[in-house]
């Protein structure tokens, strides 16, 4: 009886069901709590998109002009990029600095649980940010969207974290914690601007629009803008294909880094 218990706790991955759901759940829960309790992460991640939206999408635009709806979508994409890039890029780099990854490897937890926990955390933050933006848009900017459109937008944002998780993961495997902050910011902010997330590409110089398809955030925003019928008219499958390729390649690059 006693040996059984020890065996059960020391090898949780091999329970009767075959998968330790509780391991994944706990890992995800504590990852989320950890980030929520890291003001340097949670505060900007949660408030910046909403603050920016209030400034540019509500206060500085004329009511009823359609800009508030358009910017709700693009600031949503901007919002979900943050937790994914920082949660993976910076947090993973810090984990590595502290030797947490080595410790985890020694612990009897499923190998993928940390990655899945971080992904779930990014999605969780993404949903919260999307919901906050929607509340502001509907409550203060007079944005009118059908419930189906709101649901679809949330779904796009939920799945849209994946390419940025992959990119963040790769950055996190590349550099240490201090450098990761700088690099993620260097990637995150220019990419958002150059993809037309802060202001529409139509009012930016032509050269910015020309090179916008290089950025994953552009493709995600185009998919999201299709929900409100304000995209530039590219094929959905093309945008999805780019995002899938982007996710796969950076995940592959990161896994090569981690195994070497």
């Amino acid at each position: 009886m006693r040996t059984d218990t020890i065996a059960a706790t020391s090898r949780p991955a091999a329970t009767a069901a075959g998968i330790c759901w509780r391991c994944y759940w706990l890992e995800a829960k504590y990852e989320f709590l950890r980030q929520l309790r890291t003001p340097a992460f949670a505060l900007p991640a949660l408030t910046f998109p909403v603050l920016f939206y209030v400034l540019f999408g509500v206060l500085l635009t004329m009511p009823g002009g359609g800009a508030s709806t358009y910017l709700l979508v693009t600031y949503g994409v901007f919002g979900i990029m943050g937790p994914a890039l920082f949660g993976f890029g910076v947090a993973l780099a810090m984990d590595r600095d502290m030797g947490l990854l080595k410790l985890k490897r020694a612990l009897p937890v499923p190998a993928g649980s940390l990655l899945l926990a971080k992904t779930a955390m990014a999605m969780m933050f993404g949903v919260v940010i999307t919901a906050m933006l929607m509340a502001v848009a509907i409550g203060f900017a007079g944005v009118q969207l059908a419930p189906g459109q709101l649901g679809l937008l949330a779904l796009v944002n939920l799945l849209g974290v994946l390419p940025f998780c992959a990119l963040g993961l790769w950055i996190g495997t590349l550099v240490g914690g201090q450098a990761a902050v700088a690099i993620v910011n260097l990637v995150y902010l220019p990419m958002a601007f150059l993809s037309g997330l802060w202001m529409p590409l139509s009012i930016l110089p032509d050269v910015v629009a020309r090179f916008a398809p290089l950025w994953p955030s552009y493709h995600l925003s185009q998919i999201a803008l299709k929900v409100i019928g304000a995209d530039a008219g590219g094929a959905s499958w093309m945008h999805v294909l780019v995002l899938l390729a982007f996710t796969a390649v950076f995940f592959f690059l990161a896994s090569r880094r981690m195994s070497s």
Binding site: G65, G196, L201, S202, P213, L214, A232
Partner: protein, 618 residues
């Protein structure tokens, strides 16, 4: 080798991104952005377009341009793969226009090209630039200026016409050797020889200018012919014109204004095979006919007029208007044309009352007024001047010729004014980017006009869509900013409060643009899109009914029409209802400089239809 998988993965991602960039055309809005050229290189094709080839009309043809030259023209011309293709349905393709009488200095050639005039024939100007001109007009390079042929210095007497412009010009003294004088011009590179026979007798009571003698005219023309140059003559009286024709002149570069061409002159002109460039545009200025101002006010031309062009169009020589001059010239042109004398389109641009480029569109209208058909007028500005001045590489749309082309909306072979509705201009096969000059120069600098005292703008009870002041109503859509929404408006019977009529505005908001809009706007200034001062007014009031949709009233104000409008919403319900919007409620509007008041639908996409009536600014 160690990083081979990484390199492979990054390469694959690069390939996907490259395909995406190509397929998405660089993320740019597919609905033609403003100012963007319709084609990029100097090879392209236009499909299914009406073609006036310089001589004949092809109702439906394909035109292929390769490396700056016209490759094929014809109903069944094949369109090769891999080049830009434009849909020409509803449009007409013309050869680039030739203005056969200009004085082109400064920005003239750039101004000309902006209105589809791809070649100018200068009739007296700086001869030192001639070597550079030759290189430019022979090249097929990308350019933003019309090509130029020039007479260089003209043959005129000391103190005569042509010497008064402050330029130090060579002159032919009384008793001087005309042959040697002309030879010197040919040596300078003059493309043709221009003689000025002008003592101002037609224009002024007593003052007379010195002018060249009849025997000098004869000798100069002979000398030009001896050096294989054609000789053209400025003459403002029938007597001088007759003498020039007798001396063997190839062309007259004005219609004379002291008389209507008599039968004898018609016979002599025909026998001498002379051509006439009547320059009705500049004669209309002398007549005070307001042709220049009408061009400046034409909304199809005004957005591309530089402020110097607007000023020039509204300018006049001093002295009383001489309406009879224009009538005589028009009558003469009609009679000469009927007698079989070649008429060429030329404006004398560079003079008051004209503007390079824009005035040629006015000249075409005047030629039609004189009795030419639209097709003959178009030939007078394309194939005919090319033939008479020996410009072998242009003037027609035919294989091997230079791809100087003009694409216009509508059918100028029936309505000559359609040449003003320019869709695209190509020079040497390269599309010209027409930057609107309005916001930067003329319109921004223009002082705000005061508005008349009455509050009523439009009651829509008349027989056309009009307004008590300003320049009327126009459709406005996001197409000007890259969108695809459509709008139309029309008078309909049955207005508010049992009045006779109302304005119905309908259309469709199309998805695919960040801030779609479509509707109709009132332009309160006499010149479209100029500002007026509404700072003493308080309220925009109007009656409305419609499909129940939410609409937006916009105030466009400030430095340009492109500025973000200030907006207030209203709903168009099933019954007539008065809407009163305080002007102070248009946040951010500059009430001292209001350029337009628009009534428009915005998001969400879909069809819309509403009526307005009794529009007042109180």
């Amino acid at each position: 080798v160690k990083y081979f998988p990484e390199i492979l993965a990054v390469g694959a991602l690069g390939a996907v991104l490259a395909v995406a960039m190509h397929m998405l055309d660089g993320g740019r809005n597919p609905h033609a952005a403003t100012g963007a050229p319709p084609t990029t290189g100097n090879s392209f094709a236009i499909r299914g377009v009406r073609v006036f080839d310089g001589e004949r009309v092809l109702p439906m043809a394909n035109v292929v341009v390769r490396d700056g030259l016209v490759a094929t023209v014809g109903a069944d011309a094949g369109i090769p793969d891999g080049i830009d293709v434009l849909d020409g349905s509803g449009k007409t393709l013309l050869p680039g226009l030739i203005d056969a009488h200009t004085h082109s200095w400064g920005d003239a050639r750039r101004d000309a090209l902006r209105f589809g005039v791809t070649t100018e024939l200068d009739m007296m100007g700086d001869w030192k630039r001639i070597p550079a001109l030759h290189g430019e007009r022979e090249a097929l390079a990308r350019t933003d200026a019309a090509d130029l042929w020039t007479a260089g210095a003209a043959v005129t007497a000391p103190g005569g016409h042509g010497t008064q412009y402050g330029m130090d010009v060579p002159t032919l003294a009384a008793g001087g050797d005309a042959g040697a004088f002309v030879a010197a011009r040919v040596d300078e590179g003059s493309d043709y020889i221009k003689l000025i026979v002008e003592d101002m007798g037609v224009y002024e009571g007593t003052r007379r200018l010195p002018t060249i003698a009849p025997d000098q005219v004869t000798a100069a023309i002979a000398a030009a012919h001896a050096r294989d140059r054609i000789a053209v003559v400025h003459a403002s009286s029938q007597a001088n014109a007759r003498q020039a024709v007798a001396a063997g002149a190839d062309g007259l570069v004005h219609a004379f204004q002291d008389a209507v061409a008599d039968d004898a002159f018609l016979a002599e002109a025909r026998a001498g095979e002379v051509f006439v460039v009547p320059t009705l545009s500049v004669i209309a200025m002398i007549a005070g006919a307001g042709e220049g101002r009408a061009l400046a006010d034409d909304a199809r031309l005004s957005p591309w007029l530089a402020s110097r062009q607007v000023d020039s169009l509204q300018d006049r020589f001093g002295g009383p208007p001489r309406a009879e001059f224009l009538q005589r010239a028009l009558d003469s042109v009609g009679r000469l044309h009927a007698a079989g004398v070649a008429i060429l389109a030329g404006t004398d641009a560079g003079n008051p009352g004209t503007a390079h480029g824009a005035s040629l569109h006015g000249e075409l209208g005047l030629l039609v007024r004189a009795g030419l058909t639209p097709v003959q007028a178009l030939a007078a500005a394309t194939s005919l001047p090319a033939k008479r001045f020996g410009l072998a590489d242009r003037g027609r749309i035919a294989p091997g010729l230079r791809a100087d082309l003009l694409l216009v909306e509508g059918d100028p072979t029936h309505d000559i004014a359609a040449t003003r509705a320019i869709v695209a201009i190509w020079k040497n096969g390269y599309a010209i980017v027409r930057e609107s000059t309005a916001p930067a120069s003329a319109a921004a600098a223009a002082p705000a006009e005061p508005v008349p005292a009455g509050t009523l703008v439009s009651d829509f009870d008349g027989d056309s869509v009009d307004s008590r002041y300003g320049s009327g109503w126009q459709a406005t859509t996001d197409a000007m900013a890259g969108g695809a929404s459509t709008a139309d408006f029309a008078l309909v019977p049955g207005g508010a409060m049992d009045s006779r009529g109302a304005l119905e505005i309908s259309g469709e908001i199309k998805a695919g643009f960040a801030y779609p809009w479509a509707g109709a706007m009132f332009l309160p200034a006499r010149q479209p899109m100029r500002p007026v001062d509404l700072s003493q007014r308080r309220t925009l009031a109007f009656q409305v009914r419609g499909d129940g949709r939410r609409y937006t009233a916009m105030l466009i104000s400030g430095d340009s029409m492109q500025a973000m409008p200030a907006m207030q919403g209203f709903t168009a319900g099933p019954d007539w209802q008065e809407v009163r919007l305080p002007l102070s409620g248009f946040a951010g509007a500059e009430l001292g400089r209001v350029r337009a008041i628009a009534f428009a639908a915005m998001s969400p996409p879909g069809a819309f239809r509403f009526r307005i009536d009794q529009v007042e600014v109180e």
